[in-house]
């Protein structure tokens, strides 16, 4: 039977939402449309008591429309309290943040991320070949949150590298969700947990910068259910998430 193909903008938020648990605290930072959608989706589907935290300092916001910027005042709507960004970092620092969504310009085999720079010929970090935006909160959150879920909408060998050119941070990475697969970090290294429908092991290997252990028997990512698809449409009817693709 031919696999039904789901575009990454549908599959990724659904897969990310499946990883979230009822009752846990979940944080996303700047530039995080897919986590924003995934968190709202998880709350709608199976985790009503999940506590949604973001940079605006809101708790469980109910945005009227999903914003382009994930620091937007839209993500403050409906909150019954106000904390500061410092409060959220403190929460993670004292070990009380359950789950954080983070990403990387480069992500390596050990789950380290690079958001900082690509070094130039002299290797001096103050003379980079490419200056990247910086890791925002990741060098504080990733080592201290109980678990980190990474996501990236591009899966190619320049993103998924054997070793990052600069380690903005490592940390408690649990899984990495991409347009092609889900990695799980086992014994300190990313292993393919499931391959998305319609993706071949050869395609996945060609897109990844380190040797993978994948075969025809590698489990497939379960396809979205009707309920998941309907909830995704309800949570993000304007498809704000497409800004990431």
């Amino acid at each position: 039977m031919e696999a039904v193909l789901f575009s990454p903008d549908i599959l990724m938020p659904i897969v990310m939402a499946r990883l979230l648990r009822n009752g846990e605290t979940v944080f996303h930072g700047v530039a995080s449309p897919l986590p924003m959608v995934a968190i709202l989706l998880a709350k709608a589907l199976r985790a009503p008591d999940l506590i949604y935290l973001n940079i605006t300092g809101s708790t469980d916001p109910t945005p009227a429309a999903l914003p382009r910027s994930t620091v937007d005042p839209a993500l403050f709507a409906g909150t019954r309290s106000r904390v500061t960004l410092a409060d959220l970092f403190d929460l993670s620092a004292r070990g009380k943040l359950d789950t954080a969504f983070l990403s990387g310009v480069q992500i390596d085999r050990a789950g380290n991320i690079n958001m900082s720079l690509i070094p130039g010929p002299d290797g001096d970090p103050h003379h980079p070949k490419v200056r990247l935006p910086g890791g925002a909160g990741s060098a504080a959150i990733m080592p201290t949150a109980k678990r980190t879920l990474l996501w990236r909408t591009k899966h190619d060998p320049r993103v998924f590298v054997e070793r990052v050119a600069f380690r903005t941070t490592g940390g408690n990475v649990d899984r990495v969700v991409t347009p092609l697969c889900v990695f799980r970090r086992v014994a300190g290294l990313l292993q393919v947990e499931t391959i998305h429908p319609g993706v071949t092991p050869a395609q996945l290997q060609a897109a990844t910068g380190w040797p993978l252990s994948v075969s025809a028997s590698t489990p497939r990512t379960p396809e979205p259910s009707e309920a998941e698809l309907a909830a995704l449409d309800a949570v993000d009817p304007q498809r704000a998430r497409l800004i990431e693709f």
Partner: protein
């Protein structure tokens, strides 16, 4: 009560070259943009900008040659546009030093200055190349001996913060998200507030707990309606996507950026507002329609 109301140009004239300057807001939200543009018009040089996450403000100050260092966790336009082209070019050409932080270490540095101590331990960087690149060191806990990273105090010479309402003394209210703005106020030697509305502060007394910035810490108050434009200001206006889109397109090359800077900043007449009390604080009067859903507000 001291009247600290002044024009934007007079307030910004007090910012010395080569100063550490903290900018309130976060990415494209409630940045003190009117003041940023005035820094450019007054040809300031050598500023070290402090911000957890910057976008238009940090980018344009790098492009205009005002900044020579940026101490931040993130500089970029999120998914709205992507990387910050002027910041990136300036760092890659060696014109601006990227003093990379994580947002939490910016906060820790501001906390150290606020508390009058030379450094602040911070639970961050344990698995990062940033400390080696930036020279952040570890200290031993004098009790347990455990090592912890310590970031040096960040004491801004000036903090510039855009607020919704301020009175003439500098008592001020921020609605919606605070970001690090109150911490910047307590850490800085001098504080410039730009305000959407200048209000009669006696009306703040009905609910002083909503006034998160105490006037005695503030040095200058400037009436600057739409002073965060093209960034958003909670409850009042959204990001100006047309302006930002034009800016981002013109920021891609040095020539087109110069043209943008001339048209929108250098040759743009800034209309100073009358620096007097505009009206009473209307905390209890702003309509839901104007503010959107801000259920935290007292009624």
């Amino acid at each position: 009560m001291r009247n600290k109301l002044t024009s934007l140009s007079e307030a910004i004239a007090r910012v010395p070259d080569n100063a550490v300057v903290a900018l309130g807001g976060n990415t494209l939200h409630r940045s003190p943009t009117a003041a940023v543009h005035e820094l450019i018009r007054q040809r300031k040089r050598g500023l070290n900008l402090v911000k957890t996450a910057g976008a238009y403000d940090v980018d344009i100050l790098c492009g205009a040659g005002v900044a020579s260092a940026v101490s931040a966790g993130f500089v970029g336009y999120e998914n709205v546009f992507g990387m910050a082209p002027l910041y990136r070019r300036a760092v890659e050409q060696g014109l601006v030093r990227a003093c990379e932080h994580t947002c939490y270490s910016v906060i820790a540095g501001l906390r150290a200055a606020t508390q009058g101590v030379p450094f602040m331990p911070v639970n961050a960087f344990s698995l990062s190349d940033v400390p080696l690149a930036q020279g952040y060191k570890q200290v031993a806990d004098p009790y347990s001996g455990a090592e912890v990273f310590a970031v040096p105090a960040i004491q801004p010479e000036v903090a510039i913060v855009h607020v919704h309402e301020a009175d003439a003394e500098g008592n001020a209210r921020i609605y919606g998200t605070l970001f690090e703005d109150v911490l910047m106020v307590t850490a800085a030697k001098h504080v410039i507030l730009t305000a959407e509305h200048i209000v009669d502060g006696s009306t703040f007394a009905a609910q002083p707990e909503l006034t998160t910035i105490a006037g005695f810490m503030v040095t200058h108050v400037v009436h600057a309606p739409r002073g965060a434009h093209p960034c958003s200001c909670h409850g009042l206006y959204d990001m100006d996507m047309g302006y930002l889109g034009d800016f981002y397109a013109q920021a891609q090359t040095a020539d087109s950026f110069e043209a943008f800077l001339r048209e929108h900043v250098l040759d743009a007449a800034y209309h100073e507002m009358a620096q007097d009390v505009e009206r009473e604080a209307d905390t209890l009067e702003w309509s839901e329609a104007a503010l959107g859903d801000v259920s935290h507000r007292a009624r």
